[in-house]
Structure formats: C-alpha cells, structure tokens
Symmetry: C2
Subunit: 319 residues, 2 copies
C-alpha cells in the first residue's frame, strides 16, 4: 500500500464543515464570520509520550485528545484538525485501530480531519487543531487576580501518573485498578464542554499536561500572581488514596497527563462555576486561592507547607 | 536549558498579526472577515527529508518553504504557522541557525510563528501553515480542462534531485555546480507571489514536491483528464543539461523537491499567465496541454513517447 492509498483508505471521509478537505495542497476552512481561530499543535513520539504497547485505538484517541484539551483550556469550540503521521511501516491493523479511536473522538466533538501528511519513519504523530472563539472571550493564562479561587476539574488527579509508574515497574496495582488508571493515562477526555461553559466566568485557565504545580506555575507567571493550594482538596480516586502519602502527593502535584482544566474565578462567581460544571457534566473542586505574593504554596492538612522540589515534567531537563 | 527557556530564547518574538502568539494553550488568529483559511501541514524527518549534514539555517528555511509552497499552490496569502520540533538535545548553535533561516523566510512572507511544541526525540519538524484566500478563489487540483495549456514555474527543474544524487554518490559535480544544485535542494523559494498572481487565471495548480509526473498525475486524476508534455520544453539548468539524457529525464520528470508550481490555463489566457509571471518575477514555461484522454504522455523531440516507469516518489513504496 502506498502513501496515497493509505490516506484514501484510512483518513479520507466526506467533508462536512470544511470548504475543502483532504486531498488538495491545502484544506480550506471557513470560520464563522467574526470568530477568532484558536490553534494548537502537539507532537507525540513513541517511547516519550506513549508506550509501544498502547492499543492503536487509544493512541488515536489520545493524540487528538491532548490537542482538544488545549482548545478546552482556551474555551474554544472545536472545528477541525490536521494529522501528520510518521509510520515505520504500513500496518493495516494498526491504522484501522488508530483511525477508529481518532475519528470516534473527533466525531464526538464535531471536529473534522481536513488534511495532513504521511511519511515513513519512527512512529510520530503531529496534530494541529483549530477551534473558534468569539473575539475577547478566550480563556487565557494571564487573567488570574489575587483573591480568585483556584479550581480544578475531574475527580482523579494523578491516576494517569500512577498508571505510568506501574508501567515503569516502580508501583504495583491489581489488574482491575491498573486498568482504571491506565484508562486515565491512555484515554483522557478533553474538557471541551467545561471550557466553553467557563467563558465569561473563569479569569484564567490551563490544561494539565505536565503536572498541576508546573502548569499552574505558567498561569501564575503569566498573571503576575502567586497561589496557595490545599493538598487535601485535590480530588483523587480511591485507588490513588490507597497509595502511600508521598506517592499520592507526587502524582497529584507533579503527575502529568491529567488533561484536566485548572482555572481561576472570583469567589463571587463560585455558584456560576458549579452551575457551568453541572451543565458540562464535569466535576470541579475548589483547591486554593490566588495570592498577590508570587510563588506557589501547597499546604497539608495541618496547614504546613509541603516541601518544594515537586517540579513539573520538562522534556529537556527531566530524566 | 529547559523546554520553556528554549521556546522563550529561540522562538518567541513580538506578535504582529495574530491576536495571541506563542505562550498560551492556543494561539488566536483573526482572519480577515469573509476570507477562507487555507491550511497545510508537513512533517520532515532527518534521513528521509533532509541529510544530517544540512546547515541548520537552510533546514529552518526549507521546513517553512515546503509549507509555504502548499499555500502558493492554492493561491493563498501566508498568515501564520505553528512549529512542532523534536530535538535529540538542546544545541544552541543548531537552534540559532535553524531559527535564523526559519524567521528570515517567515518575515519575507509576513508569516508569523504563532505557537507549537517542543520535545526531546529524533530530529523531526512539523510545521502547519495558515493562509487566507477569498471564497471561491483558491487554486485547486480539480479544475484542469481539455485544451488547457500546462505550465511550470522556474528554470531549473530537476536540479534538486541532481544534488541529492551527488550526496548519495551516484553522480558527481564539481564544487561550484554542486553548490548551485544543493542550493536548489536545500533552499527552495516557494512561489507564493506567482500563486497569488495566478488566481482567476490558472484553472488548476499543484506544487512539485514528489516529482512532476507524480504530482501532475494528482491534478489529472482530480480533474478527470489526461495530458501530453513535451520533454524538451521542460526548463532545466545548464548544469543539468550537461548530464546524460537519461539522468536529465529522470531528474526533470521524477526528481522531487522542486517546489515549483505546475498549473493549467486556457490558451486564450496565455498572455495573462506571462503577465502574472512577470509581475511575480518568476519564470514560467508552457510544457504541454491537457487532453480529454486520461493518462500522462511525455513526448521527446522526435514526437516519440518516453517510456513509462518514471514514477514519482512515494514514502511507502519507493526504496
């Protein structure tokens, strides 16, 4: 099977929203008049962003999910995406599974594959996603203000990292618990509905890809503020709660791969936050507050500051 | 140097056109009201799309050039791009050169870097480029009609492939000639001005990345037509003309990496084509005509058909 047959067979579907889809030099999108276009791009490599044993369907899902999560963090409505794919060989079984997972999530968000590129090489997936947002309504990292509450979505922060540690052999879980956490790692659900519902309510937002401490740190730096979090308020699963306290702490604070939204909102908007979360069918928890003093403090149940050194994942400085 | 310092140091510049540039979850573009957005994405891998010895500045240039070439083939005006980059390590010398080549070409086309991703891994570059085109004015592959002339831009088709063969050791050139052809391979100039000038004149267009026969074949298939080309009309350099006839033929017909535009236009529009080319300061040559009968025929100087078997490059079926 050649490159063009591969594209035709696995990645060409009737165009619904785009003016022109897969198969020309460019795709043509027609954003709704007056809307801004939100754009994000992520490159996923085997061995770094996913393990070689991941099910192809989950890989297809996750490759798009991490990009939709960026749209969610901006409060943008998904529109379309491009897919650039390097494959060591043409493996129809792999491609069928990958396309199934990719398109199931794409369809769930009415987000259309409009173009891309395929080449032979070590497995690599680069997706660029496009969404729409009315001018001035995007959720940014720079809007957190002292006194704002800090919120996070989801009920199982850190489960993805726990699964990664099991895959690495540093932790052990029984089969069913491992499957639950592995699902969090390999099949994250981007919080698109919540991001849309928080427009006009949240003062800042970010999606959690590298870990809460590091990602929230970007918001604090961009906003010129600090924050204090309550460790016990961080939502975690019963599976993670069964782990030693230092494992729980590392997973929730610096785990990575959560793809939840962390966001800020004024205390007077707390009811509107919970209403938005209910409308989006997404759990949220208030986990701290924004301070004028720079830096991020995390307090344990006794009000003592948790030691620093829980850094976030960095592709070039983390082992 | 960490991931975020790398982005700040080499890839963050003041935003000129985008509503929001590098540094948030998404970039925000504001296309001019009523314009369609043209999108294209290319993934370049070391060892497949470029040699490890390429100068970083040229690699930065070419990574964007191949994407701008897709906008050119659509007649779209460049707007911005994202860059996803996998690097084996942080090498400031490499990154400075890469960024210099990238931004020099970007600035020449007022095309802004708006976001992206960096990760550690085997050197890989994925650029997604965005351009604007008025609705209904994009140059497509599907518009060629029997009787149209076939045109190609440039004056040195096949030089890029000749340089590749020298790098591979199958051909030899003296130093100065090799440098000239190597420049064609590593520093192609996307025909953006020509693509814009051909709107409303050309009936179809494509950019030549995989070789004239294969790329023109996509146009013929999409248009439901065939074509006859005159081998002697294909523009080539004095350097290529000094090569044996079979080498010339392979390089111009199936060379790849030309990044010229092949396009069709009615014979009555020939003057408008040459005026558009002059306005864009880009040489063009009439190389054949579109036929109703499917298939692509190439005739030599005696009117004999050149043997088939000159296939185009395919990442999965070409050795």
């Amino acid at each position: 099977m050649g490159e063009f047959e591969l594209i035709r067979r696995f990645f060409t579907r009737p165009t619904r929203r785009a003016a022109l889809g897969v198969g020309d030099d460019c795709a043509l999108l027609a954003p709704a008049p007056g809307m801004q276009l939100a754009v994000s791009s992520d490159l996923l490599l085997e061995g770094r962003h996913f393990v070689s044993t991941v099910a192809p369907e989950r890989l297809g899902h996750k490759a798009l999910a991490v990009n939709l999560s960026d749209l969610a963090a901006c409060g943008a409505a998904p529109l379309g995406f491009t897919l650039a794919l390097a494959l060591p060989q043409v493996d129809a079984g792999f491609l069928e599974g990958f396309a199934r997972g990719l398109f199931a999530l794409a369809d769930a968000h009415d987000c259309e594959l409009v173009g891309g590129d395929t080449t032979r090489g070590p497995l690599a997936i680069c997706i660029t996603v496009f969404g729409e947002v009315p001018p001035g309504r995007a959720l940014l990292r720079s809007g957190a203000r002292p006194g704002d509450d800090v919120w996070v979505s989801g009920s199982s922060l850190g489960d993805a990292r726990l699964a990664l540690e099991v895959l690495r052999g540093t932790r052990a879980l029984d089969g069913s618990d491992f499957e639950t956490t592995r699902r969090a790692l390999e099949r994250p659900m981007p919080r698109v509905a919540l991001g849309l519902a928080l427009r006009g309510i949240a003062t800042s937002a970010i999606d959690l890809s590298d870990g809460l401490v590091g990602d929230l740190g970007h918001v604090l730096a961009a906003s010129g503020v600090g924050a204090t979090l309550e460790l016990d308020a961080l939502p975690r699963s019963a599976i993670l709660r069964a782990q030693p306290p230092e494992v729980q702490r590392a997973c929730v604070l610096a785990g990575g791969d959560d793809y939840e939204l962390a966001f800020s909102a004024p205390p007077r908007a707390a009811d509107r936050v919970t209403e938005a979360a209910a409308a989006a069918a997404t759990p949220v928890a208030r986990i701290g507050r924004v301070d004028a003093a720079p830096g991020l403090r995390v307090l344990d149940g006794d009000g003592h500051e948790v030691a620093a050194g829980l850094r976030s994942f960095d592709h070039f400085t983390t082992a």
